[in-house]
């Protein structure tokens, strides 16, 4: 017992540890906090392992190790490489943390490999998936990623005249109100509404217009009612609407009712709330080169470019698009966030997805852009 028991305990403990490692141990640290390193890392003797090691280092923000693992033929210097992952100018990417990744090989030869990796980002506005193709080469017995140069947009110095409209609010209300309660609410109207059933649940969507000559804060609430007049669920448009509407401006809205079957719904109640708020037309963001297309993964998308026509940086842009059929009815509302900042007078691409079954019906579309600027928050 004197010898046997310690040996059993030591060997048993070691065996259990190996078992946990072999069965894919959980190395996860708290998201957003730089994690420590593993006690050992397998050598990148295959493209899969090399890419996995690289992405783990990126996830843990071990930039030195990650950059050292790149091929010497990479065009990116270390700063470019880091900025490629961490973003810049207060963009959505700079708030994001790489939460997970799913790599898969596209094409592998003896000394070249093309890998496609789905990157799962955790961001302040919800999860975002990004797909990236990464080229790897074999150097000796180790595979290394070849990193392309990240193009940081260069903005030349220039003077931008400010000609936008702006509405300030002189208010006598308490300081906990940012809208005005003691004047008539702006006139806003729902100009279209459509309810559809999807695999995820029921969706109510349409458009709202501000018919007034003053800006309005709008929010659309919807209640689904069953045959006996009881409310099944009530939800709001949340971030699938541009909440601040300038005079005569139209915004799409979409309200999701997860796990609700529309066939059980007898009635849909829509309620739009409006309040007078201060607003500004600046920054003006133009939507350019919009077209319906198919992306690299074969999904139907509306893509185009956002052009920041103002003189201030737009840190996060939110694109909301309504899609119409040939009778002018809204058949879908889709949205997406742009993870790169829009620098003054520069543009960034955007894409929002359309379900396959809807894309065939789409005859026209309308895009609005909501924005978040650090300077104005």
């Amino acid at each position: 017992m004197k010898i046997v028991l310690p040996v059993i305990l030591v060997v048993g403990t070691a065996g259990l540890m190996v078992l946990a490692l072999v069965s894919g141990g959980n190395a996860r640290g708290t998201v957003g906090i730089a994690g420590g390193s593993a006690m050992f890392t397998p050598k990148g003797t295959t493209p899969e392992v090399a890419l996995h090691n690289l992405l783990v280092d990126v996830q843990r923000r071990h930039w030195d190790r990650a950059y050292d693992a790149l091929s010497k033929t990479s065009k990116a210097d270390k700063e470019d490489f880091i900025q490629d992952w961490t973003g810049s100018n207060g963009s959505l990417r700079s708030f994001s943390a790489l939460e997970g990744f799913d790599p898969r090989p596209l094409h592998i030869t003896d000394d070249q490999a093309e890998m496609r990796v789905a990157l799962h980002w955790s961001t302040p506005v919800g999860p975002i998936e990004d797909v990236r193709d990464i080229h790897l080469v074999r150097e000796g017995d180790i595979w290394r990623a070849v990193w392309p140069k990240y193009k940081i947009p260069a903005v030349p110095a220039e003077v931008i005249p400010v000609t936008y409209l702006r509405w300030d609010l002189v208010t006598g209300t308490a300081d906990d109100q940012w809208g005005s309660k003691n004047v008539d609410a702006p006139r806003v109207r729902i100009i279209s509404m459509n309810a559809v059933n999807t695999a995820e649940g029921a969706i109510v969507m349409g458009e709202v217009v501000n018919e007034d000559t003053i800006p309005a804060f709008v929010n659309v609430n919807s209640t689904l009612v069953d045959g006996s007049g009881n409310a099944i669920d009530d939800e709001t448009s949340f971030d699938k609407i541009d909440h601040v509407l300038l005079p005569k401006q139209v915004t799409p809205y979409r309200i999701d009712f997860p796990n609700i079957d529309l066939n059980k719904v007898k009635n849909v109640r829509i309620d739009v709330k409006a309040a007078l708020v201060p607003a500004s037309a600046d920054p003006v963001i133009g939507v350019m080169d919009q077209k319906l297309d198919t992306d690299a993964q074969g999904k139907a998308v509306l893509q185009g470019e956002l052009l920041n026509e103002s003189g201030q940086t737009v840190n996060i842009s939110h694109v909301i698009a309504s899609f119409y059929d040939n009778s002018g009815k809204v058949v879908w509302v889709s949205d997406g966030y742009v993870d790169r900042a829009l620098l003054p007078q520069s543009s960034e691409p955007f894409a929002v997805e359309i379900p396959k079954n809807v894309s065939d019906k789409v005859h026209n579309f309308h895009v609005v852009v909501n924005q978040y600027s650090l300077a104005r928050s």
Partner: protein
């Protein structure tokens, strides 16, 4: 007196308690635990008891929750003390009492296996445990420490009752066990496996070898009697807790916790949950294994230690997951490391005896440095670790804002406040939809996602942000109008979903956001509201058993049992020859 003679005597228990007071007293007077993860949570619960002793329904978190979901003893003691010295010092005082009870418990627990001298070194070692400092000053696990200390004090009575049939030991053992359960039920449940089973096993060995008066059958019979008494007692004392658990079993999505990670794959987690809690004890691991295997009487203790040690490694081995099943995803594993260090201390006492006998002053210096280094590292880690509790902002303006102009007729949310959320909740009359106690949550916006507090949503990645989004989507439903932000990370989301900044506090460190069109909060109906009779027994029984235990200890002093000790080998060549037992 020579050094050799000095070291040959046990250290008086009073002196050890004074050392504990000298080491931890100033740290607690400096209110070091006040910024730990859970301290504000405990004070929040205590504050509710201070104002509503017999009504465990608390409207301030989760739009209403029952405090019967957490054993109340430590909180009720804080509430009692708070009437005289305030909440914060009340917390510190209860923490100090728990810390002072620990070496007493360790001394008495260790004496089941080792002599007074080794037990005294074990007790002294408990003062400097890294795991103790980790739990007290970083994690703020007051209830775990208090319960473990009480449980360690109950187990020697358990041994005396089952081995020697002392009736007073039965009474005291049961009462102190109930008090331990009233402080923290999880400690009692797992303590049965890690602590009580080794004691029972040892008593069986002693009975078989006639080292104690009881027979083997008697030992087992009395164990059953003790178990029934404690089981029924815990069932009654914590009845509202069990009823709440039966009504709402914990079925929420598992919340990730770093203590469940594989420490081999993340060095920071390994330092946080292994190196810091164990400290210099890591060096004693080979001795514990060898010494624990060398005597039949020590094997039960070694097995208890090893099991707790493995559990304390979290996801580094698959054993906890295999044995705990679904409970694995609910528990956190730093407490197992704490229990493992407690179980290791009798061995450490033996090691200290051997070293002091052989090297006298050199050993004393080495052991002292190891002890001080261990607690020093744990205190240094408070500021060095990347997981240190945040919330350095002054939350007073937030409290003032919520308490004025009828703002408390709405619910609020804090983002980026960490454990300061509980501090805001303690001192404001407004309620929040968030809260810092995962097991009490019933709102689907929180239980359907693998995330803990909304205020820390970003640290839970997509799950955390999805939970926050779900809550913000239903802001009108809950009357959630005000959001206080102490981390600009959340500002884009608030902007896009219709909130606007209305005020800044603490030189811009905290911003207040509000949303138009939110109606005032109304009471959210819940089937979890405990009936009045539950509030009554919740307010009487847990604190009552603790008073009874104190009175029994003070009024009926106990004849100390002579330890059935394991001898200390002093010749390396053949240590077995020199064992007494």
């Amino acid at each position: 007196m020579t050094n050799e003679k000095n070291y040959a005597r046990p250290i008086p228990l009073t002196a050890i308690v004074l050392v504990a007071l000298a080491v931890h007293g100033p740290l607690l007077l400096m209110q070091l635990p006040a910024r730990s993860f859970d301290a504000n949570f405990h004070m929040f619960f205590a504050s509710h008891y201070a104002h509503h002793w017999f009504n465990p329904w608390n409207e301030k978190w989760f739009a209403g929750f029952s405090q019967t979901t957490y054993p109340p003893l430590t909180h009720q003691w804080i509430a009692l003390f708070s009437t005289v010295i305030g909440l914060k010092m009340g917390y510190m005082l209860v923490q100090l009492i728990a810390i002072l009870l620990l070496p007493v418990g360790i001394f008495r627990f260790a004496r089941i296996w080792v002599n007074d001298r080794a037990a005294s070194y074990a007790a002294l070692g408990s003062v400097f445990l890294g795991a103790l400092s980790f739990l007290a000053y970083q994690a703020g696990q007051l209830a775990t420490i208090a319960s473990a200390a009480l449980y360690l004090n109950a187990l020697p009575y358990f041994y005396e009752w089952i081995a020697e049939s002392r009736k007073l030991a039965l009474l005291k053992g049961v009462l102190i066990s109930l008090t331990a359960a009233a402080a923290h039920h999880v400690t009692l449940i797992f303590g049965v496996v890690f602590f009580a089973v080794p004691v029972l096993w040892t008593a069986c060995l002693d009975a078989r070898r006639r080292l104690v008066s009881g027979s083997l059958g008697g030992v087992l019979g009395r164990t059953v009697a003790f178990g029934i008494a404690v089981g029924v007692g815990v069932g009654i004392v914590l009845l509202p807790y069990w009823l709440a658990l039966i009504q709402h079993p914990i079925q929420q999505m598992p919340i990730p916790h770093d203590s469940r990670a594989n420490y081999l794959l993340n060095s920071t987690i390994a330092v946080n949950y292994f190196v810091i809690p164990y400290g210099a004890l890591i060096l004693a691991l080979p001795f514990i294994l060898i010494r624990g295997s060398s005597s039949r009487r020590l094997i039960p203790l070694l097995c208890g230690f090893w099991l707790a040690f493995i559990f304390g490694l979290g996801g580094t081995t698959p054993l906890p997951q295999w044995l705990l099943g679904r409970a694995y995803e609910v528990l956190t594993f730093e407490r197992f490391a704490f229990w493992a260090t407690l179980l290791a201390l009798p061995f450490v006492g033996l090691l200290a005896v051997q070293l002091l006998d052989r090297f006298q002053t050199k050993a004393a210096v080495g052991l002292s440095l190891a002890a001080v280094g261990t607690i020093g590292a744990a205190l240094w880690w408070l500021n060095a670790n990347p997981y240190r509790p945040g919330g350095s902002a002054d939350v007073e303006p937030v409290i003032v804002f919520l308490n004025r102009d009828g703002h408390d007729s709405y619910r609020y949310l804090t983002l980026g406040f960490g454990s300061e959320l509980a501090k805001v909740s303690t001192y404001t009359s407004a309620g929040t939809v968030d809260g810092d106690y995962n097991s009490a949550r019933l709102l689907p916006e929180m239980t359907h996602y693998g995330s803990a507090q909304l205020t820390n949503a970003k640290f839970y990645g997509s799950a955390g942000m999805a939970s926050l989004r779900a809550m913000l989507e239903h802001a009108n439903r809950y009357g959630l109008k005000f959001i206080f932000v102490h981390d600009p990370y959340y500002e884009p989301l608030l902007t896009f979903v219709g909130w606007r900044k209305i005020e800044t506090f603490d030189n811009g460190e905290i911003t207040a956001w509000s949303k138009e069109d939110v109606p005032p909060a109304h009471q959210i109906s819940s089937d979890a509201v405990p009936p009045a009779w539950q509030g009554l027994i919740w307010g009487i029984l847990p604190i009552g058993v603790s008073f009874l235990a104190i009175f029994l200890e003070l009024l009926l002093p106990h004849q100390r049992r002579a330890p059935v000790e394991v001898g200390v080998p002093f010749h390396e060549q053949d240590p077995q020859e020199h064992y007494v037992a």
